[in-house]
Symmetry: none
Subunit: 224 residues, 2 copies
DNA sequence: ATTTAATTTTAGATTTGTCTAAAATAAAAT
DNA sequence: ATTTTATTTTAGACAAATCTAAAATTAAAT
């Protein structure tokens, strides 16, 4: 029985970043990772070599890299911890869903597995975090919620905002102002062919306009 | 307005260790700290110099050292976090009081002040941790638990046995038999006016009777 | 008061993670 | 097919925190 190896916070942050980047693009570059982690490409290359040595990454210089099975497994456990802590902060400590990310960025590195499993139980085994992202179970499995972005939501269909693609401060400010948050019920009343901007209607009858750029980053779920 | 400086986990662990050591002995040595932190005296000396440079420590080589006011202030905030997390683990996540220390040793380094103040509120502003140690408030103040003998403990107040007056072999035999030891949690359920004998209840619901003579020699501490 | 022992500090290395500047390689443009 | 540009990697350095071995200082013993 081999004891679960401990990885540094830095290592964990790299694994998580690579996981997220290869989820969206499929292919990940050194620059992508440097940009995501606010560091330098040279530092990324250094770390890629270390991750390869630990068998967490498949890497050949100049050719590319991707997580190994073990690397993905570790990444998923970090993501599990991140999202469970976010859920805790919002549900139990009354934080806003837009102020928990930074704190979870630290909490995700607390090592105790027993702690996170107890927390999961205490929270009632939530399926998704406050941003609508799925929470992997202790085996790393999770069920992707069926969702589309607002651009692809059929007209006059009531749907619920379930996750946000671009979670930058600027985006969150815009959404806050327009009155769009997780759980908000919306329907698309009109789509302008000219610029793909949309008119959305809320439950309270209010109508707002959002750009194509915004619409592509707001994901909703709805019944068929 | 100066932003609160961030200290490394290592720095925080040193401050906390020195705080605890100077609490008991008054005087602290390089070896004490090395022993407490499972490290080498040479490493301690290195860190003492760094702490001095940060004005967290008053230090003159070969002569001795002690925390500065600022150093003590930081130490108390780490202790506050440590003990609040321990309380959380025991009260909310059903951990045993004997298995929370290691986890709190990591959690105490999470930096968000807002988090710890929200946690404090969520827990109902507890006065002491699962080991009976006082929890400093957000200004670093804490109230030492009140210490009285069992005769003077108010009815139905949960208290912790903190010291024994008469430590004769006969007394210790009696206490051992009744199940009373340092750290035992007890409350007084009934006091008989006839002979000042008491009925005590333990956490495990067991009830025992002790004489006035015994009660006068068992000291307990409790909050308020 | 010397000698001996313990404690503390320095000197010099090591590890981890980062950086800048320069070189190597790949991709894009002419 | 060259040339130019962008990306990636190496080379060399640095800060933080630790270590071992040796030197400096203080404390204890004879
Ligand atoms: Mn993180
Ligand atoms: Mn999230
Ligand atoms: Mn600690
Ligand atoms: Mn404690």
């Amino acid at each position: 029985m081999t004891a679960a190896p401990k990885y540094s916070s830095s290592t964990e942050n790299y694994l998580k970043a690579i996981f997220h980047l290869q989820k969206s693009d499929g292919i990940v570059t050194t620059n992508d990772v440097a940009n995501e982690l606010q560091t330098r490409p040279a530092s990324v290359t250094d770390m890629l070599k270390k991750l390869k040595a630990q068998k967490l990454l498949l890497y050949e210089k100049y050719k590319g890299f991707k997580l190994s099975n073990e690397g993905r497994k570790v990444a998923l456990q970090i993501i599990r911890k991140h999202r469970l802590w976010e859920f805790f902060l919002v549900e139990k400590l009354n934080f806003g869903w837009d102020e928990v990310h930074e704190i979870a960025e630290e909490l995700e590195h607390i090592s105790s597995k027993k702690l996170i499993d107890r927390l999961d139980e205490y929270l009632g085994f939530p399926k998704s975090d406050p941003h609508g992202d799925p929470i992997p179970d202790s085996n790393g499995k999770f069920t992707l919620p069926k969702q589309v972005d607002l651009l692809n939501l059929p007209l006059n269909k009531v749907a619920e905002v379930s996750s946000i693609g671009d979670q930058s401060a600027e985006m969150l400010e815009l959404l806050g102002h327009k009155g769009i948050a997780l759980g908000t019920k919306v329907e698309v009343k009109k789509k302008f062919a000219f610029d793909n901007s949309l008119e959305l209607k809320f439950k309270n009858q209010l109508i707002v306009t959002v750009s194509e750029h915004v619409a592509k980053n707001v994901f909703v779920k709805y019944d068929e």
